[in-house]
């Protein structure tokens, strides 16, 4: 049953529409006669200086575009900004529409959180890497889990063969979580967990560890990625199909709003959508569409938008096109704030804020000349900071080969620290505001993203759009075009299709010990042998009941993990109730 106060009746909530951007302002920042003057000047410049220059030296290319394909004019000036209104469209940080940032002081109040994604091997291995990173100045934890955990399999399941501990830390029961966070005070450190199909189980285990440490739930801070829509679109981790998966996401949003006020129950993610091949515009649109869908679903089950919206967080990719990325962050905040206010009627400021984590683009890194990746990551990280991210992960130079070595991840962390302490970007708020190019690009991206959002609204929302394969097709098409552009030399990648070298000196690579799999299999079997089989059976039945009856799954899952039911066993309950999901072989 949806949770709602007894005195409120469930109003049917018709699907709203994503509101359009406001048109030209009646109080534009650049007065009409000034715009006319600039336009006249531009026209004469085009006819004179530009024409003369082009006669001597043609442009290097027929057309210049951003990475998303937005054509870039010869020059951007106030006349191109149309009815731009600084107060209405840009405003002030911490004030609607939050283009300049969600907080009034931004980094002058608090730096972004340096939060490096980490996880490999056994819980002991990852606990060690966590402590290393915290010792070297990282502010908060970010946990990578292995494919078996992400896909709902225990280490001893046949599907886990060869995969245990390879892409992240192996976990199966609460025992693994206890080891993972051993010696780490959950009341003092915030933790992000990148897990989706089995997020409910991971969160329950985290809460249980907090309880064992004596930390009150209200003090537990962090984020769980838990964004299932993007899984069907891009990351492709699932146990069951989209509809039950989204239901579980909403159960968690609801439960966290009541039980874990400092925890972000979803990180609505663009990163994976982008890495799968989307352009920045598509990333912007599809991610916001996912967020809108979660809000819509929660509101439809009777939740008050102002009760949960403030804890929805986001996660952007930061790719190579520096200015486009900055514009993307700004456009995202503006579209989200307007949508929350006008479509969902959110009243509290906190409900309108788009707070985000960011990660530099893994897909932009090269295997060739790997040290170049340090430079790519630095530029991308700088874009994220100028874009106003709240939290940041920088990739390591060796990640086209393997998970990062200690040395490589230290350089990645230092990259953030040098930006924070040496570059000056920490002292100023939204420094690119007012740049004609950046404001124009922010508006262009907003406009193009809104076109996608309108189309998705017409399809009936993002769950429907995903079922129909719309974002998946768009992404596959963009990925194909990107690869074509590289192979035809239109898009240059240093070291790969230009400026190649004969061979690179080998770099150290992290190898995952094959003994990890054995140890994790032994551990889960030992836990299964030690626990009360009867109690586990009862608790799993409780999970199944909640799944079938539509009551919130989190309380019975928490009870199950405390009895040391395994992640695979709880996932099997989901499979039993809803069936295991399979994707077709479309390409």
């Amino acid at each position: 049953m949806p949770t709602q106060p007894a005195h409120e009746t469930t109003r049917p909530t018709p699907r709203g529409e994503t509101p359009a951007a406001p048109g030209p302002s009646s109080t534009p920042t650049f007065a009409r006669d000034e715009v006319a003057r600039v336009l006249a000047e531009r026209e004469s410049w085009t006819a004179k200086e530009l024409a003369e220059a082009l006669a001597r030296l043609p442009r290097r290319k027929a057309a210049f575009e951003t990475d998303s394909g937005i054509p870039i004019p010869d020059v951007v000036d106030p006349a191109l900004l149309g009815g731009f209104d600084h107060v209405r469209d840009v405003g002030f940080p911490g004030r609607y529409p939050f283009t300049r940032g969600p907080q009034p002081t931004m980094y002058r109040g608090r730096l972004w959180t340096m939060r490096q994604f980490a996880g490999f091997g056994s819980p002991e291995d990852t606990n060690g890497r966590f402590k290393y990173l915290l010792k070297h100045g990282m502010h908060g934890l970010s946990t990578a889990f292995d494919m078996p955990a992400l896909m709902g399999y225990d280490p001893d399941h046949p599907m886990s063969r060869g995969e245990v501990g390879k892409e992240g830390v192996s976990v199966a029961t609460l025992r693994d979580f206890e080891v993972l966070f051993d010696g780490i005070p959950l009341g003092d450190v915030t933790t992000s967990m990148t897990i989706n199909a089995t997020a409910s189980i991971a969160l329950a285990m985290y809460v249980a560890v907090g309880e064992k440490q004596g930390v009150p739930r209200a003090k537990l801070g962090g984020t769980i990625q838990n964004d299932m829509l993007k899984e069907y679109i891009a990351q492709k981790e699932w146990v069951v199909g989209p509809r039950p998966a989204v239901r579980i996401v909403c159960d968690m949003i609801d439960w966290c709003a009541r039980e874990l006020p400092r925890f972000n129950p979803v990180s609505v993610s663009g990163y994976h959508i982008r890495e799968a091949g989307a352009t920045a515009v598509q990333e912007l649109a599809f991610t916001l569409a996912d967020g809108i869908e979660y809000v819509q679903q929660c509101v439809e089950r009777g939740l008050d938008v102002d009760a949960f919206a403030q804890r929805l967080s986001f996660f952007w990719d930061v790719h190579n096109d520096f200015f486009e990325e900055v514009a993307k962050f700004r456009a995202a905040r503006r579209i989200w704030a307007r949508t929350m206010k006008e479509r969902f009627g959110a009243k509290r400021t906190e409900s309108l804020l788009l707070r985000t984590h960011a990660q530099t683009a893994g897909v932009s890194l090269t295997a060739q000349q790997p040290y170049n990746n340090v430079v790519r990551t630095a530029l991308q990280a700088f874009a994220a900071v100028l874009g106003g991210t709240q939290s940041l992960h920088t990739n390591s130079l060796d990640e086209t080969y393997a998970l990062p070595t200690e040395e490589a991840v230290t350089i990645a962390l230092r990259t953030q620290q040098i930006i924070a302490f040496e570059s000056g970007a920490d002292r100023v708020v939204d420094p690119l505001a007012g740049s004609y190019y950046v404001e124009w690009l922010t508006a262009e991206m907003e406009k193009r993203a809104l076109e996608h959002l309108r189309r998705i609204d017409e399809m009936g929302g993002m769950t429907r759009a995903v079922e129909e394969g719309y974002p998946q097709r768009e992404i596959a098409e963009s990925a194909w075009r990107y690869q074509r552009a590289i192979e035809q030399g239109e898009r240059l990648v240093v070291g790969v299709n230009t400026l190649r070298s004969d061979g690179d000196a080998p770099i150290p690579i992290l190898k995952i010990d094959e003994t990890v799999a054995r140890a994790q299999v032994d551990r889960v079997r030992a836990v299964r042998a030690e626990r009360s089989a009867e109690q586990v059976k009862e608790r799993l039945a409780g999970v199944e009941r909640a799944c079938r009856e539509g009551t919130n799954v989190m309380p019975p899952i928490l009870e199950a993990v405390k009895a040391y039911a395994s992640l695979g066993e709880i996932s099997d309950v989901f499979r039993k109730v809803w069936g295991a999901y399979r994707e077709d072989g479309r390409f």
Partner: protein, 138 residues
């Protein structure tokens, strides 16, 4: 003299790795190059891949893997093909595979490994030069 039929290539995603951007691009590039392509979709076990290869009369199987499980899954597929009497099916692959692992994979029967940065053109040409159509069943 037989009419050269198009080569049949099975593109497969073994294991739990869901990163299919590369596999889908390869599949499309191979199709555009005139091969007949079957894409298995995600989360395939070695058994499922080999069954598909046999069912589809594949001349070659291309494996895409980013998850680090290649040293387990690639040889498992090579061995199972041999076991099922399909040892002439060429197995090739790509993904996130350290250079150091390539010689061992080749020893174990993987014909070629295409590392990050490989172009689709390189892969198409390699297939044309190295994959022979299987002996068609009567």
């Amino acid at each position: 003299m037989s009419t050269a039929r198009p080569l049949r290539i099975l593109v497969a995603k073994p294991g739990l790795d869901g990163h299919d951007r590369g596999a889908k691009i390869i599949a499309r590039a191979l199709r555009d190059a005139g091969f007949e392509v079957i894409y298995t979709g995600l989360h395939q076990t070695p058994e499922m891949i080999v069954a598909a290869a046999l069912q589809e009369d594949a001349d070659a199987v291309g494996l895409s893997i980013m998850s680090g499980a290649h040293m387990t899954l690639f040889p498992a597929i090579v061995d199972l093909l041999k076991e099922k009497g399909a040892g002439e099916v060429t197995v090739f692959g790509g993904g996130i595979i350290p250079q150091d692992d390539v010689p061992r994979l080749k020893q174990l029967g993987v014909a070629e490994v295409f590392l990050p940065g490989s172009s689709t053109q390189t892969i198409v040409e390699w297939i044309r030069e190295n994959v022979r159509p299987g002996v068609a069943a009567a």
